[in-house]
């Protein structure tokens, strides 16, 4: 008997008696008010992230100018900014190791938690979102959802090879509860509220 068959046989034999139906999950009222941008901004700040409104149409990246100016290697996955590291030309995930700032666009944001979602097609190279020192995230305010429950109704989770919610930067407090940003991944996460110029990916 294979391991699979043995496990399944035991599960069948040991199934607990009784009827345990799958409960329906009601739609809970969002914990956030109607101003999703304000809620998202406040909640992401509590998770160690930062939200900036885009600058003028001529210079939307003005609020993150100093971060970009201090970076030697910038990898951009968005058409709105040209970095100096071509993600599409990357051969290996490890090639992202020297990236100072990565710029990516979020599929959507979640106001209740301050989260943003990326899939493999948003990141182009998944590892850049973790190996970069800093992450700048473009988010269209129209892409904000109220809560996590709404997020999990989105199709990305059933369609993407990889989907990830980021809520602030990499963090640890494993030593005496002292909170430190940049545990293994990015040291900072800044969301720049900037409308999509082209329709979002389906």
């Amino acid at each position: 008997m294979s391991a699979r068959e043995a496990i399944f046989a035991r599960l069948k034999a040991n199934r607990p008696a009784g009827d345990y139906p799958l409960p329906a999950v009601p739609d809970f009222a969002p914990l956030v008010g109607d101003d999703l941008v304000a809620e998202f901004t406040e909640r992401l700040a509590r998770m160690g992230g930062r939200v900036e409104r885009a600058g003028s149409p001529a210079d939307p990246f003005a609020p993150v100018r100093s971060r970009l100016a201090g970076a030697a290697v910038i990898a951009s996955a968005v058409p709105e900014y040209s970095g100096n590291r071509d993600l599409r030309a990357a051969q290996r995930p490890q090639d992202m190791a020297d990236v100072d700032v990565a710029i990516v666009r979020a599929r959507f944001g979640v106001a209740e938690t301050g989260s943003v979602l990326f899939t493999e097609s948003d990141l182009i190279v998944n590892s850049v979102a973790y190996l970069a020192q800093h992450l700048i995230v473009l988010l269209d305010p129209a892409d904000l959802l109220a809560n996590i429950q709404a997020a999990y109704k989105r199709p990305e989770f059933g369609q993407s090879a990889y989907a990830v919610l980021h809520t602030g930067p990499s963090a640890t407090a494993d030593i005496e509860g002292v909170l430190i940003h940049g545990a293994q991944g990015v040291r900072s996460l800044t969301v720049l509220l900037l409308r999509r110029t082209a329709p979002g990916p389906i």
Partner: protein, 521 residues
Amino acid sequence: MSEELNPREGVIHPEVRAPSDESERGPDGRRLQHAEAASKPIRADAPREPQPRGAKIKGNRPIDQGEAAERFLAAPLHQKAHDERLWDVRKKRDAAAHGIPEWEELREIASQIKAHTLTHLDDYLAQFEAAAKANGVHVHWAEDGAAHNRIVLDILQKHGAKSLVKSKSMLTEECGFRHFMAAHDIDIIETDLGERIQQLDEEEPSHVVMPAVHKTRLDVADVFARTLGTDPDNDDAHYLAESQRETTRPLILKADAGLTGCNFAIAETGTVVTCTNEGNADLSGNVPPLQIHSIGIEKIIPKVEHLGVFIRLLSRSALGSPITQYTSHFRAPRAGTEMHMVLVDNGRSERLGMEEFWTSLKCIRCGACMNTCPVYRRSGGLSYGATYSGPIGLIIDPTFNKRKYSTLPFSSTMNGSCTNVCPVKINIHEQIFAWRKVLAEEHQIPLLKQGMMKAAGAVLSRPAAYRAAISTADSALRALPRFAVYNPANTWGKKREMPHAPRQSFHAWYRQNRMNKDGQS
């Protein structure tokens, strides 16, 4: 230039905070409290105090948790910092839970989803397997920990892989994964800071969420000085964490394979979900050319939409944070790479058949029961000498080895707090009590504790009366005879007041509250 001018230079990234910045702060200047952050500084006092070590393991002989607890108590600086830190996390959990009006409803729904899935586990596992295969994932089945280790070794050998980076996984702890791989010349690198500290110190994790919570920064400074070559006199948490980052990153970049555990496995999509604060599961899954996920078969939930329940409960219960920094959904391999999923039983299918204990399989490993437990907080996770410590450990560990863990169900005040905070409503303290009975009937209990069982008399041997008692008292301490709490066998009961000492004798209380007018119970 003298080194004293800037000892951090060259070692530390320029953006790492100075030692004077105790913790990260938000834009309003207030202390941030996400991830495992403490709400206030909890620094163990200098001078250095040797770290108390865990229970002495003597083969299959019963663990003497009390003996290890005595040594933890004899290290007051550690004991105090540990107790305060975990109580702080417990209070953060309460605040987070109270922030959600539907909290109790969420717990109930989560508990029902788990009950449903566990009672249809073969169906959902088959669905998960079919979905994963359709996604291009290689699916493996392991009956026990040894089989899991052999399967992973086989995958690694087929790829010529000699090093593996991994995120924290209690399942791989169960399997003795690191020890096995060391014997086969595979280099295993833990990437969670707490777990890395434990690996470098050759110690097991003491907590399911905060593996090194029993260590002070001074202990970590010692470990890192010994293993990473850091300055032994520099106990700044920022310096220590950054040193670990800088020494681990090259290992991540050159690793041949990556492995993660699994918080939730979605049957309908074949997805593995991990929740981390460091992003280390994402590094493990996205950087090396070979990707492996180890999954306990009880981690299955039916649908993606159910994450909308469990994700809201998990981090709030664990740390009082609304969500972990990273919630990662691995469904299919990256282009040009292989993705393997190993589904592990290791006693779970047997536990499913244990009428009184199968619901312990609902556990989502949040650690809330540990943080709230007065015994755990004052004795440390390593005193249990088992993979799982604290209240959940008391009811899971005996399913792995009845003799070795026969004494653990006695390491409880039976105050019921574990049950009250459990996000999937496992009746933990009732199962602790049920285990005492089982172990007594099977003569697994040492003589001293057998005596205690007899003396405890009617209430302890009659679940109905016991449950009635604790359903009205907010603490079972008021329902238990004093000697059952302060018995010399209960080492953790020494040297401190229990949270709710009995205000009257049990019998008086019982007569007053539980007997009818005829004097019958």
